[in-house]
Symmetry: C2
Subunit: 393 residues, 2 copies
Amino acid sequence: MADKVKEVESLESILESNLPPDALARVWTILYGTTYPPCGLTIPPATVDLASASSIQVKTHKFSAASEQLRPPRIVRVGLFQNKLPLPTTTPVAEQRAALHKLAEKAVTIAAQAGVNVFCFQETWTMPFAFCTRERLPWVECAEPAEDGPTTRFLQQLAQRYNMVIINPILERDGGDVLWNTAVVISNSGQVLGKTRKNHIPRVGDFNESTYYMESTLGHPVFDTAFGRIGINICYGRHHPLNWAMFGFNNAEIVFNPSATVGALSEPLWGVEARNAAIANSYFACAINRVGTESFPNEFTSGDGKPAHKDFGHFYGSSYVAGPDGSRSAGLSRISDGLLVAELDLNLCRQVRDKWGFRMTQRLPMYGELFTKASKPDYKPQIIGEREKPRED
Amino acid sequence: MADKVKEVESLESILESNLPPDALARVWTILYGTTYPPCGLTIPPATVDLASASSIQVKTHKFSAASEQLRPPRIVRVGLFQNKLPLPTTTPVAEQRAALHKLAEKAVTIAAQAGVNVFCFQETWTMPFAFCTRERLPWVECAEPAEDGPTTRFLQQLAQRYNMVIINPILERDGGDVLWNTAVVISNSGQVLGKTRKNHIPRVGDFNESTYYMESTLGHPVFDTAFGRIGINICYGRHHPLNWAMFGFNNAEIVFNPSATVGALSEPLWGVEARNAAIANSYFACAINRVGTESFPNEFTSGDGKPAHKDFGHFYGSSYVAGPDGSRSAGLSRISDGLLVAELDLNLCRQVRDKWGFRMTQRLPMYGELFTKASKPDYKPQIIGEREKPRED
């Protein structure tokens, strides 16, 4: 379905290949808040070769902060990995998972060579995004225990080997046979630091996820790692500014948003939402999306009046990092596997808070009270009208 | 200072004059969520001539909704007006205000001919944005009573003449000699429907507004007009998602954001924040910014280590309308006066709510409770760490 349209490489590639240098620089500054070319990182040639041999696009970006007298810079490198399914969805699930593990090991190795300290996969990265089908078997077989499942155990080894924090977003099966959309945080020591779950579950188009799992009851935990305080806002939670805000109030400096979303539905929103969260909360936001089109064995409908079909469109990748200062990196490819390595000086968060003062001016007690009132069934909205008239909707 | 750099007309003009048609269409769809060229409106030739003679750029945009069985379309045209100061800031304030009234009458007349139902000016439109100076006289002489001041009276006539709701953002002096940053809403009957005030006051760079006025105590009123339910989120309030959210909970369908902001400070944020609010709250957001560079008689400093100077940079215009579906209009010019006429089908708000389900999934009672907790001095953030370690910042 989606592949009938030839998918373009990226917004940035169109701009870079068509705009004269002056125009490109102006456009880039307005759109991305940096000079052009943006500041990148040097990656060892052997790493570039390894990535190339693995068909993994590598892009880099550097966020700097002013130097301070009392705090040394707090430099962290994050790695955002986006990927297609290496095998068809009709392959036995164990083989699919094994192939994804193999790809993951390559990606983490490349990231380690590029100096990455905190690595994050896309949402439910060990399986197809099969929730469009509303089928149980075999997809629920992709679910694993968070603390002691095969994927967590596999990544614990990599985390320890590379002294790297790894965020592992999976479909979780808990001890009571309840499924959850979960991200496990593995410390650079190889220990499981904890987990968080998806706070907001979509019921939109093919994203039939409420068929499979419910909203998290774990709150908005922030993980205090050796490389900064990190939160994970899974996928659809990026549409909810209040959700992003709570990670801020829990002192996150970096919030990852592992996602799976398709072009026809959400692409114009993609560059807006995580970036707005970075700005509003003065932290770094790392948005990761799947790539490619996933075709399923049985056809399904999408509740949109169109005929049944076997895929639900193109996952457009375009993973990026947004800074608290409103600047952002270029996006990864819309069509290929990619690793975005971004260097962050975490001191920038507090510097931006001090400059823009959003926390100082946020009037949080008032909003706590107002939202509590607004959430009551008998809430009377504050509406001023010159007359009584029937509500039109 | 700012005019040493030649300011470009607009992001869109660079794209339109440099990209081949196919590339332009792809870029536009990703960035703005519409086909290219976007759907516009037909403006009478005489109106185009009048605007041209008045050096007011006119752009149009049309947001459509699906047709429904039980609700007819609810079509409203909004007019966003951005302008430079017609006279130097050294002119007597009465003359400056008279010149602005004259320009306003032209703009409202053009808007009326273009079918505008709801018109909004930029922030404190009757005066220079003089808060950078920290001087009192003569700038506080620009303040007026909201309900019975000369500008409100002047606009009441226009509102009645053209059957138009007019939003009048001014510096208000109340009966107790307290200044406020206020927007007066004038009904299409010519009556003052009410007023709202700026909820969040900046203390950033040259925006020394807390020197002059305090945060609103009027809440987040939504005005139920003949042309839809409208809210006004003044300037710096656009950085606060909780503020945008309350206008949604009070049932706004259109939220105007009359602003004054300069390029070096905020331009990369401009296209993100109001648009994110439109998406997150499933309403239309109308962002309006000043244009041009305002030079003041006495020099002032900006708290940035740089020498004293007489202007604080270029107001970059770029006013735009964002829809609840994630699409947006092109921006007005970065350098000239302009009127953006956008046609909205207000039915789109509920259609997007039904499609995306952000309200259904928002978990507002939880956030009311969490924000109340987070606002307490003894709030303990939800932080998970593998060890106790000293906080690095």
